[in-house]
Symmetry: C2
Subunit: 220 residues, 2 copies
DNA sequence: CAGGCAAACGGACCGCGGTCCAGTTTTCTT
DNA sequence: AAGAAAACTGGACCGCGGTCCGTTTGCCTG
């Protein structure tokens, strides 16, 4: 296991759901030593370059280490494993998106009615994922941990909160996971790249889904 | 790549969606040579034993080969890759389930109204996945191909058909993928093993989801 | 400025998934 | 029955992700 990287105190899992989501683990980097910080930057830059040049598949841990003139062990110490490195590469845009729906302008940010925000949320995620698709796919952790990654937790937490406002008496956690599932990069890839659907259709599908899920009671 | 195993003509992908799903690739094994068939059986048996003894993680290709007194190359020739081997291990119950909803007694099989069948379908899949969970997780292909595996195609195809009957004017393919997403082994694992939810809650969640998704028009 | 120590480094090392191909076995043909 | 083509076999081989541990380096304290 890659557990117990000394410098990452794991942020101590705030026991129960905090009612307001903090800006996701912004206290992530516990003051690296100077050389460590420098190497971290070099590694990220090297990795980004490799992605650009040879695609995500070309991002070999050894290659990254070499390209950054750094030992292989260093890469693992810093990022834990390959997934960690790739996630670090996506971290920037992830935080950006998060900031947008936590504190940005409506309809994505607070201020709009929850259902509106859900619609906007889906569009935003779909757009962002469909760029970056290759990286998003490559960064997927092994199946057993797929839903435990901090960024994903943040997304599903947010959706849960919105759902609680929109359909208070439903099992919003489960509903949220369902919605999040629709935004899974692997699904997006399947539908757009393999089935050839245009992104607009996925967006329409999201809107329809949100509408159906947030309908309060059967017409009957 | 592991493509081009001479003996597997790839079954030629029946171009468009067949209106009636055949019993999923039942013409899979194009008459193996005698010794090959024998080795195949030995390998599956050995693999099953290893799963039972050391868990899915203990199923090393080399270990399986050794346990079956067979060369490593043989394993790969037969099953393509690790995922293929694991899927072969699950094949039996997959076909069983498929037979049940294609031709078994209602409410799972034909005869019941489509929404009824959807409810039963979810319960059946949830139950089956929650046993076998470990194997199901381990058998998961790399993200990019997750939705292309034949068994999964069969499931989502079936759901699509049922949805077309229940909500004819919706984008049933997308809706079906959403529902299938709820039944993803990785999600089941996350919710039951990591969040500690009882299976009953997931079943209730499924019913709620099906109800919401198949509601025809908003109450307004 | 010395010196001590935690943190960071780097590369040898390991195990596993996957490939390859020379040699063997089976099946088909005549 | 014999011989050749096709199919199968096994294990050496490769690359990569991940671990380990002896060595080096930056930082803080006196």
């Amino acid at each position: 296991m890659s557990a117990s990287l000394p410098p990452f105190p794991k942020a101590g899992e705030p026991s129960s759901e905090p009612l307001l989501l903090e800006i996701a683990s912004s206290a992530d980097e516990p003051c690296l030593r100077a050389d460590a910080a420098r190497n971290r930057a070099r590694l990220l830059e090297a990795a980004a370059r490799l992605v650009a040049e040879h695609g995500a598949a070309g991002v070999t841990m050894e290659a990254v280490a070499a390209a950054a003139s750094v030992g292989k062990g260093t890469v693992f110490r810093r990022f834990g494993d390959r997934t960690g490195l790739l996630m670090a590469l996506l971290d920037h845009s992830a935080r950006q998106l998060q900031a947008a729906f936590l504190g940005g302008p409506p309809p994505l940010g607070p201020g709009a009615p929850p259902v509106e925000r859900l619609h906007a949320f889906g569009r935003a995620v779909l757009r962002q994922s469909s760029e970056q698709l290759e990286l998003q796919l490559a960064a997927q952790p092994e199946p057993a941990r797929r839903f435990s990654s901090p960024p994903l937790r943040a997304l599903s937490g947010h959706v849960t909160l919105l759902l609680r406002q929109a359909v208070p008496d439903a099992d919003c956690v489960l509903l949220a996971q369902t919605l999040i599932g629709y935004l899974d990069p692997a699904l997006i890839h399947h539908l757009t790249k393999e089935c050839g659907m245009p992104l607009e259709r996925l967006e329409a599908g999201w809107s329809d889904l949100v509408a159906r899920v947030t309908r309060t009671e059967p017409p009957r």
